[in-house]
Point group: C2
Chain length 747, copies 2
């Protein structure tokens, strides 16, 4: 109570009430006294919370039985000492929550004893012996993990705060928490004083312990950063990201300001947003309790809670996050950070009942006031489905640095993800105007994701592998256009960070014809790129398809490569190709050095057709090609001395020399194969032909014919995309008039 | 009734009863009059049968709505005319059953009209225009599919037999069924008169229609084959299998006699057993009704019903059949043939309640007497779990041609499949003493299966691809020893068919140490091969592992390659290797021409350790190696001009020149990875060292040490495998005495 009062009112008020019920009435950071009492009163009648409590009790009891071990730090991410200290901080926080709710002293004793074991070792602890990090921690090889530790340990300390004696608190704060917070901040400004998910963890760590310790200096440091950090604006971190740019602010608010767009999109992408959401939200929850005057959850029009909704929408039909920028595939809404996010968003974000169905999928809640709210509402049958939807999210602090569009048809029958964003900080990839495509949760056209085996010690200590830079970040690793075998912005983070793509238009108002179009003029100086992606469900076809128009204009001659990163096995092509032997690499740099050229084909007609089978489904890519185009079948795995890369395939349409290029394609999912009945349903493409009928600055138009003979026309306005703009175009003697940025019609 | 009486008694009895209730009392082949009445009486109270009936009704109604189409034959397996005629015969049989049970005349009309449409076209129908088959059909490109048609059409005819007029029956039999049966038999002896799954279909087709038509000549032809077929014993079929060997019998009984071992193992393997089970069993069921005097289901000690049990046991934890010999992965107990098999085995095989749980997984039953029995017992709660188990199945008509052993630990935690069988007819692979390994349903060490996209027209018409011969059948495509880069029996079917491996011993009596051992002396003339596989669950390790001892002895020097066909990504090795660039093929023939050499390593110690991750689980192979061994990392895909092969990896231990070789390895599953918590559990091998301590003609012994320091010893008796045999062996000064073919002990 003392500490809360410190923020809420003044000394007088404190004096008037402090002695009343000191030990019992003091509110915790995330578990208020009233919240604890509500939970205790309804235990046994809150299925989600009861299940969580039982699970947590079993985990913590097992840790208590294992005994306390705080080994001398030694290992990288996958090794024992790393994993042990990581297990410790989770156990600390959970044991504290059990003590608070169950009032069993053994859980407080466990927290106290472990904290004192850390206290005893911390003063003499040198920097972690592994020297790879740009900001080394003490318990872990990087400050980031030390910050993880403190965010959880601060909560544990808070949960047993009243149970400890004043002397014990003094000893822990003086010898452990204060120097720990200092190491993460004043001693590591390159870690603490920037805008980055690392710094968010740093701010939350320092801020959380500051709140428990009632240390205004630490709190201010967390909220606003270090005033004088002495950082060099040319310094970079391990991922090649700049530590600091001129005039940039730091601290919690700066990290809320900059990476989140007003729509709630986090510029690093969902994998890191997920990672950052925990410190953002747990610190915000604590501030909301302790410093409601700051209005943290309302900050920037409630961006933190909006961001939870965006994150949940940036996942496939199995709840796995799209691998935008550096992202490990498989990470999903089942992660503990999302449990926190969903519970807090429910409690403080207007009790959106759709979140309850996500909580039910997660099967657990936070052991705090927010988890209580979710468990009670879920028990009361309030859950509604969380239907994922088409969306267009702006990027950049002010929402003016490009964005990310998601075109979804039906119940995720087809989801196209189109990236026209900013660079995405140091975890960003060089993939302007790239496309990723999903049929339910199956990847049809993949983004490789990151090249890293997170926490698997055998593979580079569980850290980023060299191939993350040499392959995963490069343009050719994505479904986007690559010119002259060079990556966008020459693969330079410095250049990429200065630019972003620009939306031409986004229109998902008609579920049957959803279109997004964006341009990129800086990826290749002197070349203008414009890509239009349409997800179309035509009544004549059983499945929705994608129409892809990628236009490049330059004053000079270039080689253009448009890769399609499919999965599975080639079924058929309408062109001849020659399998290569031996297999040589496709190029020398910019990711090309990792691709083997498996076969080279040449167009036999105005369209190149490429069919494949993946996950027992059929797909055909029909593309308008020129006679001089080369059709390349490539396979990942060259220059991979440690077998760090998957052997995934790619199909690349290469136009060897052109000033202007228009790549028009239809990506067509069709049919399925049943391995039990051995029946192949709808295994052939329904597109008889595709042709470009208008290619002007103002308009691009393509016509296609189905195998049934039906003829279709799609026109896109490249320059006047306003919803109300009227257009007219004459094609093959017929006049077309329409309003809005595109027209899809029978012909 | 007339027709049954024909078999049961004599003319007198017939005369006495035939006129009593002709139309109503006539028993059908698979749906007896009493059975129909039982079903009708309990409709709505038989969940499995009710669900099936509803499903079938929907299917047939959709076909009736689609209309009858009997197109002029034109296509291979994946094409329209093939698929249409195939859909037709299923619809015929189902519509007939619906008519019988529901008594709705539209179903009889549909059958009649379609049969007459076939009748109208059949007389003038030439051989199918596709000429690839060694035995061309008329409706389909191969007689096999015509036989499929007749097996179903005969049932449909039987089900509406009484409803048709005598004139209609006469017309159908004269113009359609009799010539159809003749084409499959007297006109195609190379198809009909052999021992092969094709001929089983042929016999069932001719026999089923013979039973309906009461044509004793056709029935005898089906049961006993053609007396004079004029076949040349040097003729081969499309798979390279011999049509006929000297003195071989033919017909249904011969096909029961030869391919089934007394244990019920079918020599072609489970994929083709599944395919053959339908004609075997449906014809047997019909014979059991019409000719109980033949005792078909008791034949060869009830081998047909035993075979169902074997087939169900030869599947992984998901019910998918092991890909022994030619087998398409994914085929499972969910196939319609298995519905038939399970229902008939239940009804006539002593009502084994374990089969009911399989039927419940299948979710449907046959619409006949057997399906009624299963549905009623299932409804009555009699189902018991079908627990799959370790087993040793003999191969060969008399059970003396090698066999197939299955060592399983726990609830399919680890299943090792060891093949020491005969050739397996024309679908057999050259993989003597090969191993396949499964962790639950995950393939740890794979058998490639077949190289074919069954019924997917793009890929070679859906038929076997050239790579099935050049890769899938070759020894190097399997986890077995390859000498001098040549396949077993020089890849010759003629040679392979003359030999089989020999069991040394099989002992699965102790679940914690299950061992099988077999030798092969003919695969490479002059070289004796002996492989011993042990599945061991040691209390010191969390997961069971495989100990693999492969011994080769020759008087001359050879190169030995032992491949391990793993899945997933390399994590770590304890040896250095050099990645190759460009990628060249590993050899020129015998499957080697399809492998790229990705890297070459050399041992750095007495053990080579190779770790990989697959399906988020960890595996380590620890092998005793010699300094001159080469450790090859290979990748499938060379010489694959149509991309017919998967790009699967292999790890090969090569001993370049030796007369005697012992490959001793531990294949160790350990731990798992969680992509949501990003935690790697137990990611490292627990085997500190492995060594060969005894290498004599009589005994092979290996010792190994765990990372905990515990030391283990395994001794196998190579020559005196009797259960009661007493053994003594001195190793490193210690005396070991034991009884039985092996010893596993602490050291």
């Amino acid at each position: 109570m003392m500490r809360i009062a410190h923020w809420l009112a003044g000394i007088l008020l404190v004096l008037a009430t402090a002695t009343a019920s000191a030990a019992e009435s003091r509110d915790g950071l995330i578990l208020t006294q009233a919240g604890v009492e509500r939970i205790r009163a309804e235990l046994g009648n809150l299925p989600l919370l009861d299940a969580t409590l039982e699970q947590v009790r079993q985990e913590v009891d097992a840790e208590i039985a294992f005994g306390i071990d705080t080994p001398i730090p030694r290992d990288f991410s996958g090794g024992y000492t790393h994993q042990r200290h990581k297990a410790n901080f989770f156990a600390l926080q959970k044991s504290g929550a059990l003590f608070k709710i169950l009032e069993q002293e053994k859980y407080a004793i466990y927290v106290r004893d472990m904290l004192f074991q850390y206290e005893a070792m911390y003063a003499d602890l040198p920097l972690h012996p592994q020297t790879r990090s740009y900001a080394r921690g003490k318990l872990f090889w990087q400050c980031l993990n030390d910050a993880n530790w403190l965010v959880y340990a601060a909560q544990a300390y808070d949960l047993i705060y009243d149970w400890l004696s004043a002397e014990e608190r003094e000893q822990l704060e003086t010898n452990l928490f204060r120097p720990f917070a200092d190491h993460l901040s004043v001693d590591s400004p390159q870690f603490f004083n920037r805008v980055h998910n690392h710094s968010t963890w740093g701010a939350a760590a320092v801020g959380m312990i500051g709140l428990v310790m009632q240390d205004q200096e630490l709190i201010d440091r967390a909220l606003y950063g270090l005033e004088d950090d002495g950082l060099d604006t040319s310094a970079v971190d391990n991922d090649g990201g700049f530590i600091k740019t001129e005039g940039q602010e730091a601290g919690f608010f700066a990290n809320l300001n900059e990476p989140f767009s007003p729509d709630g999109y986090y510029t690093e992408g969902p994998y890191y947003q997920r990672y950052a959401m925990y410190p953002f939200l747990i610190f915000a929850q604590a501030l909301n309790n302790a410093r409601p005057d700051l209005g943290v959850l309302d900050y920037k029009d409630g961006v933190l809670l909006k961001a939870v909704d965006v994150l949940l929408n940036l996942a496939d039909a199995d709840g796995e996050f799209y691998a935008i920028n550096d992202g490990q595939k498989g990470m999903s809404i089942q992660s503990y950070e999302l449990v926190t996010a969903v519970d807090i968003a429910y409690r403080y974000g207007g009790e959106d009942s759709r979140l309850l169905s996500i909580a039910q999928q997660q099967g657990r809640v936070q052991l705090d006031d927010t988890g209580y709210a979710v468990a009670a509402a879920s028990r009361d049958g309030l859950a509604l489905p969380f239907e994922k939807r088409s969306a267009n999210y702006s990027d950049g602090a002010d929402g003016d640095e490009g964005g990310l569009a998601l075109l979804r048809y039906g119940d995720e029958e087809l989801s196209a993800l189109f990236k026209y964003s900013a660079q995405g900080l140091s975890h960003g990839h060089y993939d302007k105007l790239s496309l990723a495509l999903f049929e339910h949760s199956d990847e049809v056209l993949q983004d490789y994701g990151l090249a890293r085996f997170v926490n698997i010690e055998h593979k580079g200590g569980g850290n980023y592998l060299p191939e993350n830079t040499s392959w995963a970040k490069q343009s050719i690793a994505h479904n986007t256009l690559v010119i002259d075998q060079a990556s966008h912005f020459a693969g330079s983070y410095e250049i990429g960070s200065q630019h972003h793509s620009q939306l031409n238009f986004y229109d998902a108002s008609n579920p049957a014809v959803q279109v997004v179009s964006a341009r990129e003029n800086n990826a290749y100086p002197g070349t203008e790129l414009l890509r239009t992606i349409a997800v179309i469900k035509d009544a004549a076809l059983a499945k929705p398809f994608v129409l892809d128009l990628f236009k490049a204009s330059s004053a000079t001659t270039h080689q253009f490569d448009l890769p399609f990163h499919y999965f599975g096995q080639v079924l058929d092509t309408n062109f001849d190709y020659e399998a290569q032997q031996p297999l040589a690499r496709l190029g020398d740099a910019n990711g090309y050095q990792h691709l083997y050229l498996e076969a080279v084909g040449a167009p036999s007609a105005a369209n190149a057709k490429f069919s494949w089978m993946s996950n027992n489904k059929f797909y055909t890519l029909t593309s308008v090609v020129e006679a001089t185009d080369a059709l390349l079948l490539a396979r990942l795995g060259a220059n991979d001395p440690q077998f760090n890369l998957r052997r995934d395939p790619a199909y690349i349409i290469r136009r060897p020399a052109a000033e202007q290029a228009l790549f028009a394609s239809i990506i067509e999912p069709h049919g399925s194969y049943d391995r039990v009945t051995e029946s192949a349903l709808d295994s052939k493409s329904h597109i008889a032909s595709l042709s470009v009928v208008t290619q002007e600055d103002a308009y691009t138009a393509v016509a296609f014919e189905l195998t049934t003979g039906e003829r279709k026309l799609f026109i896109v306005a490249n320059q006047q995309p306003a919803k109300a703009a009227a257009h007219a175009l004459r094609i093959d003697g017929a006049d077309y008039r329409w309003t809005g940025p595109f027209l899809y019609t029978d012909r």
